[in-house]
């Protein structure tokens, strides 16, 4: 994985595959009986998947030592935002027909819409501050603190999904479980005191 450009291209193209298939099926009228609902549901699902994938990266780096994964985190996170935007547009268009008044009424009436909306809005500043320039401008610490809110967006997104299903909650619960695991890992790490610098860390002992 030395050649970052190629591996980035690999992830970029693969992340677009679901969108290409969605577009292809739409053009061939193969999205089933309720295509608009299918588009909305699928883009929502992809948002959650990419959000969780982006959250997997730090734990995987720490647990498996795959530090190179960091190079892809921004792209995966931006894909979550990208599919989230498509999901948002699908709702505003196919469900509300760009009617602001009806959207406002809907937010008040359907709590899961409000939860989803807030979760999506949380992602906007994160996407805007994803450039190297913004990281420098904010400073690493502040940037990190800001980007921790991705967990709030993730929890909101999963809750949004959980609240809308009629009775089969297995998939939203699976997402919730995965998210809890990832968040739990980060919290456990945050509350564990760093190793005592006086005792030599294991990595300093040459392997023999």
């Amino acid at each position: 994985m030395k050649d970052t450009t190629f591996s980035k291209a690999l992830i970029f193209v693969n992340s677009l595959v679901p969108l290409v298939l969605l577009g292809w099926d739409a053009a061939h009228h193969r999205l089933g009986a309720n295509p608009l609902e299918f588009i909305t549901r699928t883009t929502g699902m992809l948002t959650l998947i990419f959000l969780l994938l982006s959250l997997c990266i730090t734990p995987l780096r720490k647990l498996m030592g795959w530090n190179w994964l960091i190079k892809f985190r921004r792209m995966v996170g931006l894909y979550a935002f990208f599919y989230g935007s498509l999901h948002f547009i699908a709702y505003i268009w196919f469900d509300r027909f760009f009617n602001l008044k009806s959207t406002a009424a809907d937010i008040l009436q359907r709590p899961f819409i409000a939860v989803g909306m807030v979760s999506f809005f949380i992602l906007i500043p994160l996407a805007l501050t994803s450039t190297n320039k913004m990281i420098k401008r904010l400073g690493g610490k502040r940037w990190n603190r800001l980007h921790k809110t991705v967990y709030v967006a993730g929890a909101g997104g999963v809750l949004h999904y959980y609240m809308l299903v009629k009775s089969d909650t297995r998939i939203p619960l699976a997402f919730a479980f995965a998210l809890a695991l990832l968040l739990g890992y980060r919290m456990a790490k945050a509350y564990t005191p760093p190793p005592n610098p006086k005792t030599p860390s294991r990595t300093l002992i040459p392997p023999r």
Binding site: L10, V17, P18, R30, F94, K166, S167
Partner: protein
């Protein structure tokens, strides 16, 4: 360290730079293509394409109501009928799958013969019918009804069936009978999703006796002039067009006349969300979403949902004086 001089390698052995770069490009192209195909395969596995439902048995002697009668009684509505493919590939039938698009594929092998239906309870002549005898009780009629799902979508479906009243008249409900309770087959071997706990099995539904005796209430065994496909509730299902779709219990094995309001599956699942009556009503919202509009399958825009699903003239009198917010 020994470093070979460039001269030591014959120039003929050096891979031409173009070939080297081409090979690399080729390898990369292959990796890109292979991973994309794999990703596409995962997407396809999670989103199976619609299945072609095998054509059913053509039903003979299906009576079509005269146009004038059809309009007044609500037996046939004059709206564009939803396509056979959509009706047979977008189903809520949790006994097979909770994914509306997957029910058709999972229900394909469902065997519906032999099949018997027991009619019992507060009746003078309880009886267990063989399905084929039951279907001979009355002429099979075509009924083109709106179907409004509680989830906010709707279809127009040309059912083939006969009024439930004809069956109830046969068994003679006694004076104590006030409700009718229905039960779906419970057989996890044939209905695999019954192994999960997504709903309490078997699925049960109920109607007030006057609702059950209403001429719009039918037992359907066909669709588009053919025998009912498994995913739509074969071999026998209830259709009550002014109520939300889930009241139309599928694959019925038992009908029981009772005195008190019988339990119903979705009401047990969410008492504040799904009432016993569940009449289509744009003014009474589901606690989590509005029921004012619906998406007609096959259309882009939304339609206003009609009171009693557009059958107010025919059934409004059944609920006179009732607080429909309380009895939702």
């Amino acid at each position: 360290m020994l470093i070979k001089k460039a001269d030591d390698v014959k120039s003929s052995e050096i891979t031409d730079q173009n070939i080297y770069l081409n090979r690399r490009l080729f390898m990369r192209g292959a990796v890109l293509a292979a991973t994309s195909v794999a990703t596409a395969a995962v997407y396809r596995a999670l989103n199976p394409p619609p299945v072609q439902t095998r054509p059913g048995v053509k039903l003979a002697d299906v009576v079509k109501p005269a146009p004038q009668e059809a309009a007044n009684t609500g037996f046939t509505i004059n709206e564009k009928q939803t396509s056979f493919e959509d009706i047979t590939n977008y189903n809520n039938f949790y006994e097979f799958s909770t994914d509306k698009g997957s029910v058709a594929a999972k229900a394909q092998g469902f065997i519906t013969r032999p099949w018997s239906v027991t009619v019992e309870g507060l009746v003078n002549k309880p009886k267990t019918y063989d399905l084929d005898d039951l279907l001979k009780l009355a002429p099979q009629e075509e009924r083109v009804y709106r179907m409004r799902c509680v989830e906010g979508w709707s279809m127009v479906i040309p059912w083939v069936g006969f009024p439930l009243k004809k069956l109830l008249d046969q068994v003679e409900p006694n004076s104590q009978a006030r409700y009718v309770a229905f039960e779906t087959l419970y057989d996890p071997k044939r209905m695999p999703n019954q192994r999960t706990g997504v709903l309490g099995w078997p699925y049960v539904e109920g109607l007030r006796l006057d609702e059950a005796m209403h001429p719009l209430t039918i037992l359907a065994s066909g669709l588009y002039g053919e025998s009912l496909p498994p995913q739509d509730g074969a071999p026998l299902r209830l259709v009550v067009p002014w109520k939300y779709g889930f009241k139309g219990i599928k694959s019925i094995v038992k009908i029981k006349l009772v005195e008190g309001e019988p339990p119903t599956t979705w009401n047990r699942e969410g008492p504040s969300e799904y009432g016993f009556y569940s009449n289509v009503n744009p003014q009474v919202n589901h606690p989590r979403w509005s029921q004012a509009r619906e998406r007609r399958i096959g259309e882009f825009g939304m339609r206003e949902t009609l009171m009693f699903n557009g059958y107010a003239d025919q059934v409004g009198h059944l609920y006179e004086g009732m607080d429909l917010r309380r009895y939702f």
